[in-house]
């Protein structure tokens, strides 16, 4: 008897309009042994996710042209095939209101800029190893508003 074991994807989708950070994140993800798929903004990430859900995780900047990180998460919540993908949201603002809004929309982890390499690597490992975290995206709570 053979048991089919579905291999977890090694691809991570990165969306950031800043070329320096995009390149930095791409290299940091590769360093962790994953394949980075980097796009320039939220709209490109949205287009990619429409046709391709084979990602182990998503890393999105909060503030991007066309579509923001939260908008992509909201779209992912509407598609069952994308709901299992955990998301790391990156923002320059670290206030609690914004974090609460991100988590209630379905972000799995949150990282505040500027961050150092060690902080990013730790956050990425938490994102990829904690099996309980993505469940928050399967049934996103009521959006936090104030």
């Amino acid at each position: 008897m053979t048991i089919a074991v579905k291999q977890l994807s090694k691809r991570i989708l990165i969306a950031d309009d800043d070329p320096v950070l995009r390149d930095l994140l791409t290299n940091a993800v590769r360093k962790e042994g994953y394949e980075a798929v980097a796009v320039d903004d939220g709209r490109e990430a949205y287009r990619m996710l429409q046709g391709d859900g084979d990602f182990r995780a998503g890393i999105f900047d909060m503030m991007m042209p066309h579509l923001e990180g939260l908008d992509i998460i909201r779209y992912m919540n509407t598609e069952k095939r994308l709901q299992r993908i955990p998301v790391l949201l990156i923002s320059s603002e670290g206030d609690l209101h914004l974090m609460a809004k991100s988590f209630s929309a379905g972000a799995t982890v949150f990282l505040t800029k500027p961050f150092n390499l060690e902080q990013f690597q730790t956050t990425l490992r938490i994102l990829l190893t904690n099996k309980n975290l993505p469940s928050s995206r399967n049934a996103p709570g009521k959006e936090y508003s104030q």
């Binding site: 320096v20 390149d23 360093k31 320059s92 500027p114």
Partner: protein, 138 residues
């Protein structure tokens, strides 16, 4: 006595002069990126510096245009974006100035103009340091 010196310093703008003596780029922050370097691959720090040097003039022009057009949301978005990349490369004062622009009241034209001028001056200090760091790694 100390208070008098402090008052004199602030009255003469000494803190600003002292600020100019701060390193434009924190080389320790830049050096941490060496951890990401893969053997046989092009130098990552050179690559990141090249991206920054190519990208920033366009971003600065966009910031200046946003200010002239009094498009404050665009100005703050632009500063927000520049804050991230400058901080990652160790241009900490640049990053702090971007944060000040983000935090300034939306319609404070005069103070935003002054901050943007400071940002341009700071980047004029940052560029040669990054160019030198780039050359050192070629």
């Amino acid at each position: 006595m100390n208070q008098a010196i402090t008052q004199f310093a602030f009255a003469t703008g000494l803190p600003r002069v002292l600020g100019d003596l701060e390193p434009a780029v924190d080389l320790a922050t830049l050096a941490t990126l060496e951890e990401l370097q893969e053997e046989g691959e092009p130098n990552l720090i050179v690559e990141l510096i090249d991206l920054f040097l190519a990208d920033v003039p366009c971003r600065l022009s966009a910031l200046r245009a946003s200010l002239v057009l009094e498009n404050y949301p665009a100005l703050k978005r632009g500063a927000h974006s520049l804050r991230g990349s400058s901080g990652s490369l160790g241009a900490l004062r640049t990053s702090a100035l971007c944060e000040e622009i983000e935090m300034e009241p939306a319609d404070a034209f005069a103070s935003l103009a002054a901050l943007l001028t400071s940002l341009e001056a700071e980047l004029a200090r940052v560029f040669p340091v990054l160019q030198a760091q780039r050359l050192l790694r070629l």
